[in-house]
Homo-oligomer: 127 residues x 2
């Protein structure tokens, strides 16, 4: 039995290895994956469908955990999620909420500023 | 000596009492107050200048803490910050990061979606 924090650490490590399938094995089948400014989705398959294109489009993925605190079932962290895409690092400042039961993540909710993200994906054209 | 969580709990309770001056006594003089989608400010006076108009414009303030985990110096929480303004509840889903030293908050960083907030402050006009 892993601790809640160990489960989250393993999940993040697998994402950074761009191994989405193995990472998703650490999500409950009925996981709720909620990007707060966007819609929440339910289910491991739905979560994988969101994660896979983002991760596979990146040449490298680094999720830098700045702070993380957990108890037996809840893990909260502060991260910078970095994706190397077309030679440029996309960086998303994120606060993450994780609920873990029986070694799998049942809730994953990320708080971030959507406009700050989309501005990086579609940077304004120079005048 | 209060625990880091007790300091954060007291701070939030004072905000909910709309007692900004007492709340700000729990901020370090050189506190960093960072609303992630906006600019960070440094100093208790600067933090008070941001907080006071928001809190005083509200008839009631409720910060609902959904989850909170802390260690000796770090407290992370998930909240809905609610402000009753002109008879309407403005609700901001927030993830908060707090660093506490010597019973005062040295860092307070809130992650939220700015567009989701401004849409409530300036709701679209009905067609």
């Amino acid at each position: 039995m892993a601790s809640a924090e160990e489960t989250v650490d393993s999940f993040i490590a697998l994402i950074c290895e761009r191994d989405v399938d193995s990472a998703c094995e650490l999500l409950a089948e009925d996981v709720v994956y909620d990007n707060v400014p966007m819609a929440a989705v339910t289910g491991r398959d739905a979560a994988r469908s969101l994660l896979a294109p983002l991760v596979s489009s990146a040449e490298a993925v680094e999720w830098v955990v700045h702070r993380q605190v957990g108890d037996t079932t809840t893990v909260l962290n502060e991260r910078t999620d970095r994706f190397l895409i077309d030679g440029r690092w996309l960086e998303i400042p994120v606060a993450g909420i994780f609920e873990v039961r029986d070694d799998v993540i049942t809730l994953w909710r990320d708080y971030f500023d959507l406009a700050g993200f989309t501005a990086q994906v579609s940077p304004p054209v120079d005048p």
